[in-house]
């Protein structure tokens, strides 16, 4: 590695090399049965060079091709983007806890027994139910080095358990799933079981929903769709190109004071935690939106330079992306939010809501799994209908509450979100 970087310098270039090696083992259950054991060893080498002010990027999964990687990066740098930055000097990182020996030690038999426990539980719902589950562990080592003297490596473990069911009754097809991902073995199996059981029991009964405007309680899973356009608009590259409506609005109240969003690359146990981003900038905790006020963008080195801001450890050669993201929770448990709804809808799983234009803020999607709420109780499943809202206006004027409880969806940590004035379209009948 050192020789490679020295060679880059000898060829008149700055360079950063990011190497990731990982081993994954997984067991899969389909149609109520154990189906597959899989294991994956993977290697990824990513090289960035800056030569004559231009960036070249090359990557490889082929062991022993480091010199060829440098050649490729130098070749494409001739046509690459003109950049206004140098790779950074090393800064001391925090020491996050993202490795758990217990994950490395768990054996396939134990993983199978976790999956079997979930499948056996799902099978108790109905003889015709089709359960599926997956249990996987990954051990990875990511290292980064650059021609400014940076060298660091981080070992991480990830343990993921997912389970779900499919249940066909006439022409109704009810599906639900839940998952837990952690850097340790602390998986909430009982919570997953309770979620699946509740979805089966309430989801079997379809209820009509009249088209109109409703209060909607988005579960953390459903809430993801509303956070996505905000992230697109916070991206420094979109701001730099003047296509984000958040351009020039740092310090401005853009959403309701109850809403705060934090990027944190240093979070203990965070799936997205790392020491440095892929450009060598040390990771940190950065409020992006604080009490509704825009504080910072997601930045890579180029957008930070162009916008006159300091990088925050969210960069890669292709642009900025978050490490771990947290929407700061509210005061009320989600169960209380549900109980307080006179008439409304719970949206848990959506379809096609990603297919809009994020810069308009309009989110329209099918309610793949959602429930009608009357007098604080879920009374049945709503389907064949669409929800629609504008994230910017609804989070500013119609945000009713965020729950105290949160769910970790990989590197995204979200509460439940209660929003008023959501348009629901369905069959006219």
């Amino acid at each position: 590695m050192k020789r490679l970087l020295e060679e880059a310098v000898a060829r008149g270039a700055e360079a950063t090399l990011v190497t990731t090696e990982s081993e994954n083992t997984s067991v899969s259950f389909e149609a109520n049965r154990l189906k597959r054991i899989g294991s994956t060893e993977s290697l990824s080498l990513n090289m960035q060079v800056i030569k004559a002010g231009k960036l070249g990027v090359a990557s490889s999964t082929k062991p022993g091709t480091e010199m060829k990687l440098l050649e490729n990066a130098l070749d494409v740098a001739e046509f690459g983007s003109e950049v206004n930055y140098s790779f950074p000097e090393p800064e001391p990182p925090v020491d996050p806890k993202v490795y758990d020996q217990a994950v490395e030690d768990i054996d396939v038999d134990r993983m199978i027994s976790i999956g079997e426990e979930l499948i056996q539980f799902i099978k108790t719902f109905d003889p015709a139910i089709q359960g599926s589950a997956n249990v996987s562990k990954t051990i990875s080592r990511k290292s980064i080095s650059n021609t400014r003297g940076l060298y660091a490596q981080l070992d991480k473990t990830v343990f993921v358990v997912s389970a779900g069911f499919k249940f066909v009754e006439g022409q109704n097809l009810l599906q639900s799933w839940d998952w837990n991902a952690s850097t340790g073995l602390d998986c909430d199996l009982e919570g997953m079981k309770a979620t699946l059981k509740a979805d089966f029991e309430i989801g079997r009964k379809n209820v009509e929903v009249r088209p109109g405007v409703y209060d909607v309680l988005f579960t953390p899973s459903g809430f993801q769709d509303l956070v996505s356009p905000i992230l697109a608009c916070l991206n420094g590259r979109a701001v730099m190109r003047e296509i984000s409506p958040f351009k020039g609005r740092i310090g401005e109240q853009i959403v309701a004071p109850a809403f705060s969003l934090v990027e944190d690359g240093t979070l203990d146990g965070g799936l997205g935690t790392q020491l440095y981003d892929d450009q060598g900038v040390v990771c940190r905790r950065t409020p992006l939106i604080e009490n509704g006020v825009l504080r910072e963008y997601l930045l890579d080195l180029e957008s930070a330079y162009r916008l006159g801001r300091q990088p925050i450890g969210t960069g890669s050669p292709a642009g900025a992306s978050p490490n771990n993201l947290l929407v700061v929770p509210g005061e009320t448990p989600s169960e209380e939010l549900l109980k307080g709804m006179k008439k409304g809808i719970v949206i848990d799983q959506t379809m096609g809501a990603w297919a809009g234009n994020p810069y308009t803020g309009t989110v329209t999607g099918n309610i793949a799994l959602g429930y009608l709420v009357e007098d604080g109780k879920k009374v049945g499943r709503v389907k064949d209908c669409m929800f629609s809202l504008n994230v910017f206006t609804h989070l500013k004027s119609n945000l009713l509450a965020l729950s105290r409880d949160v769910k970790e969806l990989g590197a995204l940590i979200l509460p439940y979100c209660l929003i008023g004035g959501v348009s629901i379209a369905g069959r006219d009948s």
């Binding site: 990687l69 494409v76 379809m351 064949d384």
Partner: protein, 462 residues
């Protein structure tokens, strides 16, 4: 080179202790170019190399993937050991649909090879499109995306098959972005091919059209929510059939579910006599098509619906054997890191007899949607979003509307297709299909315009 890898694989397979074992080895080179506004965002070259072993024993599958090709025998032993751990628990008699062993070398039958075009030429082409976009009225930015990939694919199994295939894939999008008063709109021209770089050339008219659509969208109202008669252009119809029926026909989601099998039983009526739906790997040239799938099974054309009635399903060797139907060559993997699962290739609605004018006639209030932006299904319902949409008023195309997303129920929407056009075309874009963790996988569509009654459209309710 092929013979060396063949020998390596054949030797390693001798270590198999499973009922069935296969090895796939792939090496590919990819070029990615992204321009954003006046900037070059990314120029990257990727070399991807690796392989996998899949083994079956008494109903259990073992799967091992790797980047290091040395010690392939050990990988075979490892996959067989995994399969045995499962097989000894399951003890099921799982058969694979029988396929005759074959030795074949399939060289690419390419037009202009994308991987042989100098990077300088690609950059000049894309920068030309970018300049054209940025010079259009009210266009403030752009997003140009291009990729090409050249793959050497090797497959061998314990039944004596060895196949080498050379594959090419390329695609991209040329997006114009307009911004005014905090509102940003966009529209794209898209291209894709599995055999010819030249599809990326000569797209100036499509680029101008996209820029004009993005500009017009700045002034278009948000669609009003409701239930409409919708006419889909061929691009959008292709996306519709992929989401609305293609995924439902993938037999790995049916083969162990008696109730799903009953719903999709051959002979069940799902549409009018005019409705024909098929999936094919041999229409060519289209993205995702090639001679063999990732189990070494020859691709073919498979009718899913013939004259409105279910005629078949898409299969892997395992699902075909389990359901007692013929294998169709639909077992596909995103790359060597994944086992093959049942996937579509080119999914088509066969041509009908109606003209566009006939479709418009009699629609007092409806929506005409163009360009498949993206869709999704969960097996029961689906969504599909267009790039552009216009209201239909009293049988004529009227004003543009924006932020349109449509939904339907798989089990009744096909019955609501009341007209099928006579203007069949294939569509290849730079996007792809996702299933499980495997996406985007190259696929294509073919369709004429179609008209559907009672489609639910999301949006504001006025």
């Amino acid at each position: 080179m092929q013979n060396h890898i063949k020998d390596l694989m054949t030797r390693a397979l001798k270590h198999s202790t499973a009922e069935y074992c296969e090895i796939r080895i792939e090496e590919s080179q990819e070029t990615v170019i992204r321009l954003r506004g006046k900037d070059i965002e990314l120029v990257a070259q990727t070399v991807s190399a690796g392989g996998n072993v899949r083994a079956l024993y008494r109903g259990g599958w073992g799967f091992v993937s790797f980047n290091r090709l040395d010690n392939l025998e050990k990988k075979v032993e490892e996959a067989c050991a995994q399969a045995k751990i499962l097989g000894e628990r399951l003890n099921r008699d799982i058969k694979l649909y029988p396929v005759d062993p074959v030795e074949d070398y399939v060289r690419g039958n390419f037009g202009r090879e994308a991987f042989a075009v100098p990077l300088k030429e690609k950059m000049e082409l894309l920068q030309g499109y970018n300049k054209l976009i940025l010079n259009c009225p009210e266009i403030t930015s752009s997003a140009i995306t291009y990729f090409d990939q050249h793959t050497h694919w090797h497959f061998a199994n314990s039944e004596g098959t060895y196949i080498y295939q050379e594959k090419m894939d390329l695609g991209g999008g040329l997006t114009a972005i307009a911004t005014k008063d905090k509102l940003t709109t966009q529209d794209s021209a898209r291209f894709g091919s599995n055999n010819d770089y030249n599809v990326a050339l000569g797209l100036e008219d499509e680029v101008r059209e996209a820029a004009e659509a993005a500009r017009q969208m700045l002034y278009a109202p948000v669609v009003e929510a409701g239930q409409y008669t919708v006419i889909l252009d061929p691009d959008m119809s292709g996306l519709f059939v992929h989401e609305a029926f293609g995924h439902l026909s993938e037999a790995d989601d049916l083969d162990e579910d008696e109730r799903m099998k009953e719903l999709l039983k051959i002979g069940t009526r799902y549409g009018s006599d005019d409705l024909n739906i098929y999936d094919s790997g041999i229409e060519g040239p289209n993205r995702g098509e090639c001679k063999y799938d990732d189990e070494g099974v020859p691709m073919q054309r498979t009718y899913l619906i013939k004259n409105g009635v279910i005629a078949g399903h898409l299969h892997s060797r395992e699902s075909a054997a389990r359901m007692g139907e013929d294998v169709t060559g639909n077992a596909r993997a995103l790359n060597y890191r994944f086992p093959p699962i049942v996937r579509m290739r080119t999914t088509c609605i066969g041509p009908g007899k109606h003209t566009f004018e006939e479709m418009l006639e009699g629609v007092s209030l409806g929506i005409y949607v163009q360009g498949g932006y993206g869709g999704q299904t969960n097996g029961e319902m689906f969504t599909f979003a267009p790039s552009r949409a216009y209201m239909i008023r009293n049988g004529s195309i009227a004003e543009m509307v924006r932020d349109v997303n449509l939904t339907g129920n798989v089990f009744d929407t096909l019955r609501n297709i009341d007209m099928i056009g006579n203007d069949f075309v294939y569509k290849n874009s730079g996007g792809g299909c996702g299933k499980g963790a495997q996406g985007p996988l190259p696929v294509a569509q073919g369709s004429p315009r179609i008209r559907i009654r009672n489609v639910v459209v999301g949006g504001e309710k006025k």
